[in-house]
Symmetry: C2
DNA sequence: GATGATTTGTACGTATGTATA
DNA sequence: ATATACATACGTACAAATCAT
């Protein structure tokens, strides 16, 4: 009974193969959920996943546990795993938490960023001005993610960095359309400017408040969209 | 080949058995680490764990993945799992993150607690005064945990609540001795009083600042202790 | 540096619990 | 309500990699 039939260099992308199948699966499943391939509420059948990724059920099970820990799926004992369907309330709480963490990072950045980090942030922010003026939504969205990441990093705290990054990835599907609204690009950049100014002048509480304002406005933009029926599903799909 | 030999009501604590072995194991392993049974740097051998808890390796492996997601252990592919040994720097970052989250919860509590929550917090805080005066370290420590938990809950945000709770449990081993220092009980209560006052008067930024002060002082207390050689290990042990 | 021992990673079988007819 | 079907949970076997000698 040839158990290990087709196991030639699977996962051979990394030269040393320094990654287990379960970990790779966890990443792929997470991406599939974030990307909308596995919509909220969908049941994740072990057999189905095992077949889809051409592995046995064991690594699938371990991957599911890992994904569950990030909050993307919910595993009910003996009843299988389902993609967490976020209620409006939970979504709001995620946005609030995200905003608070971001604001905290901004305050710590204002107080603790070193000169190099400050210069890099300022120059990167300047570059984004051109994208905003040009109306290049995609380029701006990508840069926006990096902009916020720079502020997380400026807090000099791995724990907060990890929390912020994780929250951001979870909320990503709901932000895809945020720069579509007319004039949103320029406004976002103005808000960024207020944050950057506060950080540059070392004003912690101002940086905190400006960032909170910024993220709350993004949240408002989302609310507008989500009031439309089925908004959540269509937003999920956009990234597929 | 009687595979399932002794599977009578294992885990029969909950009436409906609404918990899988792997989950229970994850909890127990986490407790063992937090409690110091598994000291930092220790290798967690799958066979050893399987034997110790009288289960097979499969649930152990799944539990390890879950625990790894909480940051208590680190699993290196093909090299086994080790209990994360926290460096002084990482510990400091954990305390900072904890303080920031707590402060955020305090601010949100000041702004959003309903009258019932406010009254409960206030009366509970009053009860703690007696413990502080009596010098009852154990009772005060237990109540202290509940006190902070009430403030997390007052923020009305599951995400922040979960983050705060998780961080607190990770830092717990390092706080065991915090109320041993002479006069620390009364001082802690005074700091709590400042926080409660700010929450009661609905002053968000004051609540934020007072809580930050409170937690930073706890951190200072820790630093004093950790400067002694081997402090970390001995602190881990105290809870065993 | 090669070989053997130990341990992790994966596959698969079986039983129990949940859902459905 | 009982029985049937199906998916999950756990145990065991084997393969591959790491480590120790």
């Amino acid at each position: 009974m040839s158990t290990m039939r087709d196991r030639k260099d699977r996962g051979g992308s990394k030269a040393n193969g320094q990654e287990t199948l379960a970990e790779k699966l966890a990443g792929e499943i997470g991406q599939a959920i974030l990307g909308g391939d596995f919509p909220p509420g969908m049941r994740l059948d072990e057999h189905m996943l095992a077949e889809r990724f051409a592995v046995s059920r064991t690594p699938v099970r371990e991957a599911l546990r890992q994904v569950a820990a990030t909050g993307l799926i919910e595993v009910r004992p003996r009843r299988g795993a389902i993609v967490t369907s976020i209620t409006a309330e939970q979504l709001a709480e995620l946005f609030v938490a995200m905003g608070e963490i971001e604001a905290t990072c901004a305050r710590l950045s204002a107080l603790g960023m070193n000169p190099i980090e400050r210069r890099r942030l300022e120059s990167f922010h300047s570059e984004m001005a051109q994208m905003a003026e040009a109306g290049d939504e995609k380029a701006y969205a990508d840069s926006n993610a990096r902009f916020h990441q720079m502020i997380y990093a400026g807090a000099h705290n791995r724990v907060l960095l990890e929390m912020a990054t994780n929250l951001r990835s979870r909320l990503d599907p709901f932000r895809r359309a945020q720069f579509r609204a007319p004039g949103r690009l320029m406004r976002s950049h103005q808000e960024h400017d207020a944050v950057v100014s506060a950080i540059m002048s070392g004003d912690g509480s101002a940086a905190h408040q400006r960032m909170l304002d910024h993220v709350n406005l993004v949240e408002d933009a989302f609310e507008t969209l989500s009031r439309m029926a089925g908004a959540r599903k269509s937003m999920q799909r956009q990234s597929a």
